[in-house]
Symmetry: C2
């Protein structure tokens, strides 16, 4: 089986997309992460926990017990930290590379790449442009015969 | 808001659960990972990509181009590697710890813990037993006002 046959549609966000809108997509569709593109080409994967890192103040991360004394309007301020930002600003200093395979590569090549790069998502590309993605759960659906 | 109010039900698998059944649950529900318990208590998170690492032979991970020459019945053999195993055997040598908060802890404490531990899932416990979990996407749903 070829990677192109297993690929599914997935919301793509660009480096210059609005950060708050992108995070809303991740939340609404309960995605494991955002697939970030740069002019249609694979750029990076932004995991939900990386977004949480971005929005939780550093001093609270360093000492979670401080969170107890921060007032409860925190959610409003957290949303505010995303407003007016771009996806590019959400990415960590060393973004997680989004690995990709060609549509004609085999599913086993895709699985080997996912295993080696330890990413939950692999992009499937044709002529450099993303035509879909394969998540770890989709791949495991195939091999465990859930379908 | 308290962690207990945000917690959702999530399939739990025990260290001694059947590996193939556990992976089928992960695939069927398109989960970001499995929440592994030890006699009802939080033990670890097993990401989908970690399961893929388990099932893809080491020599193929080391050189994905080898996957091209492996025959296409690989899926059958991959499922076979899971049959008769337990979840305990699927876990990597250093499992990813499943962090937990108490039901009465604040949501901001939970967010700080998720950010610091870089996990996509935090368990919510009462008297040491899991009553639900909060995923990164669920947390971001709250703070971005998708609901």
């Amino acid at each position: 089986m070829r990677a192109g046959e297993l690929a599914e549609q997935y919301p793509l966000v660009d480096l210059d997309s609005d950060a708050l809108e992108a995070v809303r997509i991740l939340a609404r569709d309960r995605l494991p992460g955002l697939v970030v593109t740069e002019r249609g080409r694979p750029h990076s994967v932004l995991a939900g926990s990386q977004v949480v890192r971005f929005v939780v103040p550093d001093y609270v991360q360093a000492d979670p017990s401080l969170a107890r004394v921060v007032d409860e309007s925190a959610a409003d301020r957290i949303a505010a930290t995303l407003r007016g930002r771009t996806v590019r600003e959400l990415l960590p200093a060393k973004p997680t590379r989004l690995p990709s395979v060609e549509v004609d590569d085999t599913v086993l090549e895709l699985a080997a790449l996912m295993a080696r790069e330890r990413t939950p998502i692999v992009a499937v590309v044709r002529a450099g442009e993303i035509v879909g993605v394969v998540t770890a759960s989709r791949l495991l659906e195939l091999v465990t015969g859930v379908e």
